[in-house]
Symmetry: C2
Subunit: 148 residues, 2 copies
DNA sequence: ATTGATTTTATGCATATGCATCAACCTTGA
DNA sequence: TCAAGGTTGATGCATATGCATAAAATCAAT
C-alpha cells in the first residue's frame, strides 16, 4: 500500500501555517462579532445571498454547494433558515422533481445592502488598515498558490 | 456619538480578504478531515496539549484561554472532554479554590506524539508543498501585520 | 419498459457551540 | 470583620453542526 508523502515541512512553513490559522480565526471572530453587535446575521448568510444576487434564474442547492464551502446537510438547513427569514424564495424545479430553485427576494437584497457597509467597515478596521496595497496584492498572490 | 471609521477598503484589499477567508477555511477543513480519517481528535485538542506540554507546573483554565482562541465556556467543556479521555490531569489549585490546575498526562503526551506525524504530513501536503521557503517567510511577515 | 445505480435533498440523533446566568471564591477598602 | 465588587469557572437551555441514513427523482443499460 502506498502512503501519501508525509515530508516534514520546514520550520518556516510551520510558522507560516500557524500564523495563517491563528490570524484567520481571529479576524473571522472579530468580523462575526461585529456583525452580531449590529444585529446582523452571520457572514455565511451574506455569502449565500451574494451568490444568489448575480443569478437571475436562481440556483439549485447543489450549485450553491459547488460555489461555497459547506457540507450538503449544513447547506440544506442554512437555506431553511434564510428562507424562513424571508430572504430566499424556494420554488420547485421543473426539470428535476428532487430539487428546488432558490432565488433571492427583495428582502434578501435589502439585507445585503444593509450588511455590506458594516462588513466593509469591519474589513477595513481589522484587515485593510493594517496592510498596504502592495501587501494586499502579495498576500492574495501567495494565497492563490494554495488549494481552495 | 462617534462612529468607528468605516472607510471602504480597496478592491485589492477585499480580494485579499476573501482569499484569506476561503483559503484558511479550505485548509482547515482538509486538515481536520485528515486527522479524523486517521481516527485522531480535532486540531484544538492538539493545541491544548501542546500548550500544556511546555508547562511543567500546569496551567489554569484562564491562562490557557489567554493563549488560545476559545471562549470561556467552550474551553471549560473542551477541557472536560480531553480530561475525560485521560489526556489531562486536573487537580485543585492550592492558591485559588475556584480553579483547577490542568496538566498533561503521559497519555496526553503520547497523543501528541501520535498526532504530530499526521498533522505534519497534512501541513506538507496541503500547505508547504505549494509554497517556497521565501513564500512562507513572506506570508508569515504579511500575516504578522494583522491583529491576532 | 424495467431494473439497478447514481444524484439530490432532507432528517433523526448525537455532539458541539453560543448565550445568559449562577455559584464559588478572591480582593479591596472601609 | 464585613460588605461590595471583581474574577474564575460551570451549566441550563437554545441553536447549530456532524454523521448516518432515508426518500425521492433521475439516469444508464439492457
Amino acid at each position: 500500500m502506498t502512503v501519501k508523502s508525509a515530508d516534514a515541512p520546514s520550520d518556516t512553513a510551520v510558522t507560516a501555517w500557524a500564523r495563517l490559522l491563528r490570524t484567520s480565526q481571529t479576524l473571522l471572530a472579530k468580523v462575526e462579532h461585529g456583525l452580531k453587535q449590529e444585529g446582523l446575521p452571520p457572514l455565511v448568510w451574506y455569502d449565500v445571498l451574494l451568490e444568489l444576487q448575480g443569478e437571475k434564474t436562481g440556483l439549485r442547492q447543489f450549485e450553491l454547494q459547488e460555489r461555497m464551502l459547506l457540507t450538503q446537510y449544513n447547506l440544506s438547513r442554512l437555506l431553511d433558515r434564510i428562507a424562513a427569514a424571508g430572504h430566499l424564495d424556494r420554488r420547485p424545479c421543473p426539470e428535476d422533481g428532487r430539487g428546488q430553485i432558490y432565488r433571492i427576494t427583495p428582502s434578501g437584497r435589502a439585507l445585503l445592502r444593509k450588511m455590506w457597509p458594516v462588513y466593509r467597515g469591519l474589513i477595513s478596521e481589522h484587515f485593510a488598515e493594517h496592510l498596504s496595497e502592495s501587501d494586499c496584492r502579495s498576500l492574495a498572490r501567495l494565497l492563490s498558490k494554495l488549494p481552495g
